[in-house]
Amino acid sequence: MTVLRFLLPKIAQGVFVVWAAYTVAFLLIHALPGDPVLAALAVKGGDATSTDPEVLNAVRAQYGLDGPLWQQYLNGFFGLFRGDLGISISTGAPVADIIGRALPHTAAVAVFALILGFVLALGFTVWAYIARPAWVRQVLVQIPPLGIAIPAFLSGLVLITVFSFGLGWFPASGTGGFESVVLPGVTLALPTAAVFFQVFSAAVFDAGTSPFVFTANAKGLSQSTVVFRHVLRNAMLPAITVIGLQVAYLAGGTAVVETVFSRDGIGRITVDAVLARDVNVVMGVVIVVAIVYAVVTLVVDALYGVIDPRTRQTLKAKAVVSR
């Protein structure tokens, strides 16, 4: 019961996020000038694209873009509950199918980048923490921010040039198997690791100067015990918060990497859809990313309860009150 009481507001919050994302995206898309139907027809028709108003109206009706705006808004929103995201105007395929096809590809890269970024940042943090003398540590600390400073576009192309075209270890493109995940995953892991490192290092160095580490050192515990048992554990909590943000970033921020590596994924679909003014696909992507974000946030909140003793105590306290 108490867990439910803890989670219910969070779930409501998630639903609100999805609804708000849908509404804002809907308003923004329809506030843009230009005709999405004409844009979508232009994708297929090229220089033979018809500008005949009758033809346009027929196509508009076909893709649910006719009638007053409020009607389109409601139809689209209630369609969500049936899992119906509409039909792509430029390809004619159901949006749910397009996203369903692309999402696993994006997820594979995102998860790989998340894990690798986490491990890289952790390793680097420990290394920087135990590095002596101080100037070496200072130098090490300066390196990770490069992960964000170098654009993914550039690092991706460098990785392709070296590991695909040069060494031939990994494919330069496509979505075939694990090998195809590695290079785009590494490309995305660099900025991810940089963000994790910032959080880890702040927490770890902070903990390093705190009284309990001083005590642990004074007790004569080995350096590794101190680092792993006390210092790192302290760094976990902020890291989990950042994971939530990183997942949202990765879910939407893969466009560049997917373009460089010619991968079929959510990011590239979004770019194509925006260029073609394929409003149904754009709405679908917004919704799916919002749902992913909401679910991750929910999981992170739940993990808080498991990991952070203070949150657990609040739960128990509430339980006491509720009796």
Binding site: P33, G34, D35, P36, L38, A39, A40, L41, A42, V43, K44, G45, G46, D47, A48, T49, S50, T51, D52, P53, V55, L56, A58, V59, I87, S90, T91, G92, A93, I98, R101, A102, L157, I160, T161, S164, F165, G166, G168, P171, A172, S173, G174, T175, T259, V260, F261, S262, R263, D264, R268, I269, D272, L275, A276, R277
Partner: protein, 535 residues
């Protein structure tokens, strides 16, 4: 983003037919190889990197170059067109007749042609194809353009049929060579427009094995193929067993992959990389798009464009050779008419379109324009400012902008999305459009400029021109028609209704050892004669 530019270049590069053959380049033997044979020890599988997702494989619906480069291998047409001479030759139809008034076309099909699903090619299937195109409407706008005023097909026997039109239709005969009127199986045309985009069955030398959107297309050789047109270099099955088309949107990855050997052929080599691939290790394939070159297409009812002096001054103020150097392919040349040099019926108007900045200024001054202190002409307090609306080839427009500023004309660029470009056409709200229109027939000028055309871009209000445009479309006699087409080109260039800027070139590259890739009359790739001669 480079990717987007390339995506958009396709609008200029929707190819149709071409008279000029493959432009000879150092080490380029791809187009004309006749002595080569497939190497016995080399496997006949190639990887051909596409520049973008084909989006829709069905050649009747799409007009995207990338998609048609795939579709051409799977789908045959009734007729074929010699890219060198423009001559039409038999393909699926072994003979055909055109009525004098250009309203009915009678075809006789080859015997024994089958679709890859085993069904036979009959007159009824062809009739159903044309009916289906008409039913597709806006989903197949290019194909419906070729079938303008379609009044149905009479099936006289299993191999004979007559296609009827309610008005003379001069473009249909040539249209029958294009993939837009390519023949699909009965099952394919019975499917919905969306299903057809994913999967098609034709009579071609290859069959579609898989299409994974945004990822790749795979085609396999069809055994028992025996109806290639006489323009091909051999008969029987194609040489290549499998062609895999990965979709590689990033140009530098395509070129890198060609260099490293990951791809055997790449579509759309960026012009800036061209020089690197002129060595013996590579074959380059270049062919100018037929039709109207990249141009300013004028709306005489808007802004200053009603003033013929202004239009002519713009035309004279453009140094087209320089634009070609800046924004074009090494293999290309500056436009010398309002049709590209690769279009049947093209007439050289190099003198009319010569770079003449002094002439431009003299024209303007005679028209009452006075050079202002800022170097831009003005009249009655109004600056000589004109706007061009476009959605690709910004580099071409920027080069023109700089050149026109030297003459005293202020060219404003209005770069929009593809949808907004057609939106501007729909509302008529533009001075000039910056784009090319690709077709394999001089009738393209009627499509572009006639009041009655559904793809009218240029607004001239010129009855004299309109009459000629209609007349050439109803003239069956080739010589007579050519005379009218010459007159139209001269008139359109003189009165500057279309102001050409650049001939867009299709540019592809392969490693040496992959030979026999040819362009068809539509500047699209044909892989039937292609082979691997060495690894």
């Amino acid at each position: 983003m480079t990717t987007n530019n390339h995506r958009f270049v396709r609008w200029a590069s929707l190819p149709a037919g071409a008279l000029v053959g493959v432009l000879a380049l150092a080490g380029c033997s791809g187009g004309t190889e006749t002595t080569a044979t497939p190497a016995a020890d080399a496997d006949q599988n190639i990887v051909f990197a596409l520049k973008e997702d084909p989006t829709c494989i069905d050649p009747q619906q799409t007009s995207l170059t990338t998609s048609l480069n795939v579709g051409r291998q799977i789908v045959d047409s009734l007729l074929d067109q010699d890219p060198e001479t423009g001559e039409l030759v038999p393909w699926l139809a072994e003979s055909w007749d055109v009525s004098d008034d250009l309203t009915s076309y009678t075809f006789t099909l080859q015997d024994g042609v089958t679709f890859s699903d085993g069904t036979a090619l009959t007159s009824q299937v062809v009739a159903d194809n044309f009916d289906a195109i008409a039913a597709l409407g806006a989903s197949a706008s290019l194909a419906n353009g070729y079938l303008e005023n379609y009044a149905g097909t009479d099936v006289t026997s299993d191999t004979e049929f007559t296609v009827n039109f309610s008005q003379p239709n001069v473009q249909f005969e040539q249209g029958a060579t294009t993939m837009s009127l390519g023949i699909l199986s009965e099952d394919t045309i019975a499917a919905t427009a969306e299903e057809r985009c994913q999967s098609i069955v034709g009579t071609g030398a290859f069959t579609l094995t898989s299409y994974v959107p945004n990822d790749s297309v795979v085609i396999d050789r069809r055994d028992g193929y025996d109806w290639a047109s006489e323009l091909r270099e051999h008969e029987g099955d194609a040489y290549l067993e499998t062609v895999t088309f990965p979709i590689i949107t990033e140009a530098s990855v395509r070129t890198g992959g060609l260099t490293s050997g990951e791809y055997d052929v790449i579509q759309d080599l960026p012009y800036v990389d061209e020089a690197r691939y002129t060595t013996d290790e590579y074959n380059l394939y270049a062919q100018a798009n037929p039709g109207v070159p990249n141009s300013f297409v004028v709306n005489t009812t808007h802004g200053l464009m009603g003033d013929e002096s202004v239009r002519q001054a713009i035309s004279k103020g453009l140094d087209r050779d320089q634009i070609n150097v800046i924004a074009g392919s090494v293999s290309g040349s500056a436009p010398t008419s309002v049709l590209t040099s690769s279009t049947p019926g093209y007439t050289d108007l190099g003198d009319t379109l010569a770079f003449d900045p002094e002439g431009a200024q003299a024209l303007l001054e005679a028209d009452g324009w006075v050079l202002g202190s800022d170097g831009i002409y003005e009249k009655d307090g109004e600056k000589l400012t004109v706007t061009v609306t476009a959605f690709y080839a910004q580099d071409v427009l920027e080069a023109a902008q700089i050149q026109l500023k030297d003459v005293g004309i202020d060219l404003q660029l209005n770069m929009v999305s593809a949808g907004d470009f057609f939106g501007a056409i729909a509302s008529g709200d533009y001075d000039m459009l910056g784009a090319g229109l690709t077709r394999t027939d001089p009738d393209v000028l009627r499509v572009l400029l006639s009041d009655s055309s559904s793809s009218q871009w240029g607004i001239t209000g010129d009855d004299e021109l309109e009459a000629l445009l209609i007349e050439q479309g109803q003239t069956a006699d080739a010589d007579e028609r050519q005379t009218i087409v010459d007159e139209i080109q001269q008139m359109v260039a003189d009165r500057a209704y279309v102001i050409p800027t650049l001939e867009t070139v299709q540019l592809h590259a392969s490693r040496s050892g992959v030979e026999g890739i040819t362009f068809d009359s539509a500047s699209r790739i044909n892989l039937y004669d292609a082979m691997v001669t060495s690894n």
